[in-house]
C-alpha cells in the first residue's frame, strides 16, 4: 500500500509534538510501518522530506532499531522470549515446537503472509515466564500447546485475546499506529494488571502490612 497525503499530514502532527522536528523521527517511522507493514524506501523518503534529512540519514536510524522491519511482516508477528529466564522455563521448547508446527524459522514469514516469527530478548515480564508476544501484546505463562493454539488462531483470523491488554488482538499495522502516538482508545479494555503484578499487594493486604503512617504534623518543610 502506498503512503498517502493523509500519512504526510499525520507525520506533520507528530513533528508538532516536539520542540525540535527531528525528535519525531522514531514515531514517524512507526507511522510509516503502520501503513505498509514495514519501513519501505518510500517511507524513508517521506520521513526524510518532512524533516529535511537525506534518505541515508533516515535509513541509518531505521536500521539501528530492531522494531522497524525492512521486509513486510506477517499480519500477526509472533515473538517468543528466549532470553535466559524464559528460555530456561520453557521458551526454548516453545520456540522449537512453533518452528516445527509452522515450518518457518526465526525472522521468517509464512507463505500466506499471515504470520511471522522471531525470537525476542527479555520483554520485561519475567514474572509471567514463559512469555510470548503477538504484535507486541502479552501472552503470559505459555506452553508449547497453548502457543500452537495461539498461532493456529492467528492463521485462522481468530486469535485468542492477549492475557493482558485489549479484549481482542490488534494487527501489526494497528499496533504500529499506537506506537506512533495515535491512541486507539482501547487502554481500559481487558486485564490491566495481571496476577503476578498484584501478588505482593494482595499478600500485604492479607498480612495487614502497611507503610508507616504519614504524620500530618511533623512533615518536613
Amino acid at each position: 500500500m502506498a503512503l498517502t497525503d493523509q500519512t504526510r499530514a499525520e507525520m506533520r502532527e507528530i513533528i508538532a509534538r516536539y520542540p525540535k522536528p527531528r525528535s519525531a523521527l522514531l514515531p514517524m517511522l512507526h507511522l510509516a510501518q503502520s501503513e505498509e507493514g514495514h519501513v519501505s524506501p518510500e517511507g524513508i523518503a517521506m520521513c526524510a522530506e518532512e524533516l529535511g534529512l537525506t534518505k541515508a540519514e533516515v535509513g541509518a536510524v531505521a536500521t539501528f532499531y530492531t522494531m522497524y522491519r525492512r521486509r513486510p511482516a506477517g499480519e500477526y508477528h509472533v515473538g517468543i522470549c528466549t532470553n535466559t529466564l524464559c528460555a530456561v522455563l520453557g521458551g526454548d521448547e516453545i520456540m522449537a515446537s512453533v518452528k516445527e508446527h509452522l515450518g518457518i524459522g526465526h525472522n521468517e514469514t509464512t507463505e500466506d503472509g499471515r504470520l511471522s516469527l522471531e525470537h525476542v530478548e527479555c520483554n520485561a515480564a519475567c514474572d509471567y515466564a514463559p512469555v510470548v508476544m503477538v504484535n507486541w501484546e502479552f501472552y503470559d505463562n505459555q506452553t508449547p500447546a497453548t502457543v500452537r493454539d495461539l498461532v493456529d488462531g492467528c492463521r485462522a483470523g481468530t486469535p485468542p485475546p492477549p492475557t493482558r491488554g485489549p479484549s481482542t488482538l490488534c494487527t501489526f499495522k494497528q499496533v504500529s499506529r499506537v506506537l506512533a502516538g495515535f491512541p486507539d482508545g482501547r487502554a481500559n479494555e481487558g486485564v490491566q494488571a495481571g496476577p503476578a503484578t498484584l501478588v505482593g499487594l494482595e499478600l500485604a493486604k492479607e498480612r495487614g502490612d502497611r507503610a508507616p503512617a504519614m504524620s500530618t504534623t511533623d512533615k518536613d518543610a
Binding site: V61, N83, A129, T197, V199
Partner: protein, 338 residues
Amino acid sequence: MANPHALIEGVAISSYAIRSSFAVIYVRGEIVHVIRRLQQAVLDAYAAGHLGKDIAGSGFDLDVVVHAGSGAYICGEETALLDSLEGYRGQPRLRPPFPATHGLYASPTVVNNVESIASVPAIVLGGAQWFSSMGTEKSKGFTLYSLSGHVKNPGQYEAPLGITLRQLLDLSGGMREGRTLKFWTPGGSSTPLLTEAHLDVPLDYEGVAAAGSMLGTKALQCFDDTTCVVRAVLRWTEFYAHESCGKCTPCREGTYWMVQILQRLEAGTGTEDDLATLLDTCDNIFGRSFCALGDGATSPIVSGLELFREEFLAHVTGAGCPFDPVASTVFAPAGTSA
C-alpha cells in the same frame, strides 16, 4: 499497580521543581498495552487540568509526551536515550558533559527511571522523615522487588530496602516444590550471580555491593538445581551481543566472540583453554568499554565461572551439557530429574 497516574504526578512535580515545561516518558515499544495506558493517563491528566497551560492557575505550563522506543535496550542508558529522543541512533554520548548541564537539545535535562519518579508524590506527601523511616541506614525508603524464575509465586513485591531474599522467599512461598535455589541475580543479568550462601544479604545498595554484586534493577531471577549455568550464561551473553550498540570495540567484538566460545562449550566442543580466554576477554571489556552495557556483559561470565567452574569444566570433559533442559521448564512432567 497498573495505574500510571503516580508516574504522571511525579513527572509534573519533578518538572515544576526544575521549572521545565516539557517532559517525555520514553518507554520501550515492545509493550503496547503499557503504552496505551500511559497515553490514556496523559490525556486524562490534560483533561483534568493537571497538565497543559497555566496548570491550576499557577502560571506553570507543562507538556508531556509519551514516546515509544523502537527496540534498542541500550536506550535505557541515559545519554543513548537522549540521542534516540533527538531522532538519532541510540548510542551513548561521552560524559562529561552530563545531561544535567547538556542533555536534550544540549539543554539542562533530568533523566530518571520511572520508579524513582513515581515515588516522588508519596515522598512529597509523607515528607522526607516518613520516607527515611523505611529502609536501612544508607538506603532509605521502599522499592519494588521483582521475583521471577523457579519460585512458587513470581511477581512484584514492594518492600523496604534491605529485605533479604530469604525473607522474600519465605513470604512468597519459596522455591518450587522439591527444588533448591542454585543461583540468582539481585538485579538482572548485569549484576554478578549470587547463590544460597547469599540468602541473608540485605537487598540494599551497600549490602549487595559488600557481597560482590550490585542491587541494580532488583530483578530477582531465581534458578533452581535443574538449571545449567553454562546455558544461562550463554543466553545472557547472546543478549548483550544482540544489544551492544556497536560504538566501541571491546563490547562490540568481545560480546560476539564470547558467544562463540560459550556456544561451543555448551555443545561440548570447547576446551579448558576457552575458560581462560573468556576471562581474558572479560578483562579486556570491563573498564574499557564506553558505557555500562559492556561492563555488565562480563558479570554473568566472571561470576558464573567463579561460582561454578566445575560445571563449566564438566561441559568440556563430559562432551556437552549434563542437564535435561525439560526438567527446568514450568511444564516439566512431575518427577523429571535434572
